[in-house]
Symmetry: D2
Subunit: 352 residues, 4 copies
Amino acid sequence: MPTKIPVTVLGATGVVGQRFVARLAQHPWFELVHLAASERSVGKRYSEACTWRVPGGQPFAGCGERELRACDESVATRVVFSALDAPVARELEPRFARAGALVFSNASAFRMEADVPLLVPEVNADSLQLLEVQRERRGWSGAIVCNPNCTAAVLVTALQPLHERFGVEDVLMTSMQAVSGAGYPGVASLDALGNVVPFIRDEEHKVELELAKMLGRMRGRAVEPAALRVSALCHRVPVLDGHSESVALRLSGAPSCAAVSEALATWRAEPQLRGLPSAPPHPVVVHTAEDRPQPRLDVERDAGMSVHVGRIRPCAILGLKMFVLGHNLERGAAGGSVLNAELLLARGMLAS
Amino acid sequence: MPTKIPVTVLGATGVVGQRFVARLAQHPWFELVHLAASERSVGKRYSEACTWRVPGGQPFAGCGERELRACDESVATRVVFSALDAPVARELEPRFARAGALVFSNASAFRMEADVPLLVPEVNADSLQLLEVQRERRGWSGAIVCNPNCTAAVLVTALQPLHERFGVEDVLMTSMQAVSGAGYPGVASLDALGNVVPFIRDEEHKVELELAKMLGRMRGRAVEPAALRVSALCHRVPVLDGHSESVALRLSGAPSCAAVSEALATWRAEPQLRGLPSAPPHPVVVHTAEDRPQPRLDVERDAGMSVHVGRIRPCAILGLKMFVLGHNLERGAAGGSVLNAELLLARGMLAS
Amino acid sequence: MPTKIPVTVLGATGVVGQRFVARLAQHPWFELVHLAASERSVGKRYSEACTWRVPGGQPFAGCGERELRACDESVATRVVFSALDAPVARELEPRFARAGALVFSNASAFRMEADVPLLVPEVNADSLQLLEVQRERRGWSGAIVCNPNCTAAVLVTALQPLHERFGVEDVLMTSMQAVSGAGYPGVASLDALGNVVPFIRDEEHKVELELAKMLGRMRGRAVEPAALRVSALCHRVPVLDGHSESVALRLSGAPSCAAVSEALATWRAEPQLRGLPSAPPHPVVVHTAEDRPQPRLDVERDAGMSVHVGRIRPCAILGLKMFVLGHNLERGAAGGSVLNAELLLARGMLAS
Amino acid sequence: MPTKIPVTVLGATGVVGQRFVARLAQHPWFELVHLAASERSVGKRYSEACTWRVPGGQPFAGCGERELRACDESVATRVVFSALDAPVARELEPRFARAGALVFSNASAFRMEADVPLLVPEVNADSLQLLEVQRERRGWSGAIVCNPNCTAAVLVTALQPLHERFGVEDVLMTSMQAVSGAGYPGVASLDALGNVVPFIRDEEHKVELELAKMLGRMRGRAVEPAALRVSALCHRVPVLDGHSESVALRLSGAPSCAAVSEALATWRAEPQLRGLPSAPPHPVVVHTAEDRPQPRLDVERDAGMSVHVGRIRPCAILGLKMFVLGHNLERGAAGGSVLNAELLLARGMLAS
């Protein structure tokens, strides 16, 4: 890989934007050339414009002196990572795609559009076929590739090997989600400390829709959603990073817990086989200790890109229960989006 | 009620024992005459022997100067409340029952014995018929009456009106439980702070068994467990008091959310009709705000005796989802046990 | 007390405003007639306009159906409690005072004005002499009476008996303050969870100035600030309610710890002697357990009106160290303000 | 450095022991050959015997399969790191020293012995002269080198450059200490959640004594403690890692805040000059943002070896105030101890 691909981060000051910067500032394939942010930060140094919230490592990933740019076409590199909020993303991301950028978007704005891949490389790399449809339909020289909602990203990674091997029929997922999922300032401390909030706006709906799209199949030039039934119950808990998801599921053929565990633990997919830089050695780490995984002890492993599964046991109603954990800002946001871009590069799809 | 009934608390120094003392020190029907504790506390003043952890009110409920007694027959009043740990309860509670005491036990030791009522007064007051069986079989002049596990106590209170009205077929309950449920010192802060622990020993099994017993029916001289299927997924979260339970359930006839809400909100049972001192006005408080109930904001209401239900909504798999909250130390422990004794007194069953 | 005095709460929806409502809805001397709030809440029912955050008791103190009024002269009862933010208070409180209201203000806007009493009834009731000055100077038929900043209110209550008995020369106070002190939404959970923030805007300055004013003396028609040196170091910690203050102080004559403890424990002042409804039995509760007081265990005692002192011990530098705790929303805000009004009523100063 | 020095960790399963293992498993100079633990863990695999609590990196630092050894002379390499509790350390560490080991001890057992260096390499490397005294007096072929209490380690690092440049006369330090400082299980969650505990057994005394010893000077063959006055006020707060210390101090000559800041920021000592592997680039990082440092945002920097200072400002009583933060398990324990060993190796003092 002789020269690095220049990339831009839109929304670089937010909680997800910072994770993008942290990953891209030292990426083996990409070179972070522009940090862009909203109007009120433009022209400021990065370290002036926000508080660095990524644990460990160098503050601002060494980019503290960089000047923040506006989110306009002047920063439209071929590869653009977007940590914009949905309303802004809906307006700006198409401009970048029209200007030729491959926009790897963490926003919800375009996830459910029929011609937009909702991509998790281990799960539905075939959905990249939609890019051709998207370009034709929209006339863009670039494109938008979305990664899913953080909760859905973690869940689909734990389900895909089971869907491949057995078929998933029903998924009932109860989440205990970290406050960092709401960004900054996000959840008020008076709501979070010592509390459980049983509501996260739109979250249950997003999980239900996105999961079906991601577990679906390409049928001609469209994704046919998976036929499974999904029910999500979403809660906020006083955890900093890491979404916990307690899952009950019905699998076709009612496989044993041992078979489920084996399917999860041995699964490797295209990112692992290609050795993509952000891919964890195994997408799913299976825990056998009776009280694991736990967000505080496990979520940072493999730079937050592994999804952890433990407590695989029978369920009297749906057949199987298990506890799933993943990093909402890494596998569920910035890390997932960077992995998407790595997949396209590895497949030779970045050339314009 | 001319004279008060003298009562004793066994295990008065623990987290649940203190709640018993707080309730009984100012109870209109009962007079707290003995506080008993384990060997190492006997002879100490109550305020010396432990740290008072009940919020609000007077420290030690005004009993700080009382001398702690041993848990032996010398404190065997007709009514005895037991906050003993299960292994100790298994040994000591029968001695008290043999000595003529009605032991209202919060321990798990005898809950699943066929001749022991597992009583929540609003739910299964008819199970008190077991007392006759128990006395015959065991030859005791007293008896043991158990209240359920804290998680099961909260859940069964929310389910009973639905079981009566519609019939409950399946219950999938995912708990987010408070640290006070593990007593003191209980959960280490290194495990609790900013974390979710997906395992509580024996909890899922207890909930599944106890729920079926409580929702069952008297059939001749025994309880026939309810035929429903129960699946519990239990987790510890950094909350002080109040167990949150996210529930999906299948009801016979698939009633509407409005019908479910109405059944919960209008339900009143024997404790309400008799006006028992510890009974809340309604066993279940239905919340309509989209983000309620919450442990921090709601669990102390009605001295922790109400069970709160919110977010009643359809479930794609089981038909109905809702969020349930109750106080693990009050409705789920001491308050529940005191309510049990009030029921027996109101029914005239305390005479020996 | 045949008829109750009608009173109004300005800013009734905020964290402090709710505490005012909770206290006044069942006050023996005052009758809460108007709840007023900012423009966006006017006309709404109280229960619609905000989330009730006072633990225990009835939600909205039974006032949930009341209609919120605008903060204008139409709600200008003789006694008005203000939980307005400082900039709004600066504009509106004088209007109420001009309209004849005695405004008991929790805002910082007028605290340091030379003619405004900064009142803690146990500490500086003589500062009420300023009211005459204030009316003359400003030509108001009403007046403004301030209570201090929450941190200063707690601290001054612990210091006054020592100042009276020995004289306080130096006070070095390091605070660990609750998040509720910042209101709602206030501190972001990403800043609060598992963290210490070593800065609260203006707090150190307020404490230093207000303490000197409150411990000062009336000298003619003005307060002469106390000559002591004060140094405050303020921090936010993940505690819900209750400001902890670790204090080192130099007292004249270097009294023994026993003498200090005795001076604190035996102190009673005008509110105690008059039996004001919101006055705690003793302004200061002295703890002897080596690890007390603690916010979680002690701050709710006496409805949050006691100040707790423990760990009285020698300091190698200033002579004495102790740990102080008080309720920032009660003794430090709403409760303090209501106590101020009670004092004026008991002294016959409410007649216009 | 052709071959690595074999080293042993005593007490490898505890919170500090794990930090030793994490540092030594990939150390450029040392090779971790033995992990030793208490009787009940001997013979188990490391991953069986404890829960790994070091965030990030590989679980068990890749040593999960190692068999735990007993803490006896069979594991007495020339360099031994001890994370033993004080009572055990008092008994076992001399045995290792007698057997020829240089014991780098994190325990309090021998810290205040006159012939034992209480070493922080940036602060008092000259105290290594005590080793000769120690060997003569005790007849050991090895020796014991202690690192200080975690709170004192952080504090002394912030004070040394000021002591060198100006002279420290008075130090009043109020700590807000992390729960990890108490080990596992340590602080109960019922004590920690949303609370401040104003007492940590022996902590204030240790800080006061150890600070004076470390800031002292070699005088002949003994350390003459510094003449400064130290007063410590220690508190536990719900923070996982990182001790916050709010400090007021009197410096000789009353230097300006700018001079203090400059003295701190520019200070470099022997570990920096020698480039020891565990030495941070600067022992003290000075923060200029008004609300920094914060444990959650700053403590992991430089692998927890930097001490952070911010909010340097005048104090009305002692002249200067500042906020200090350091990692209790790294700079304050394992990292400090490893740095001590690195210093001895770099100075050629490891040869027996």
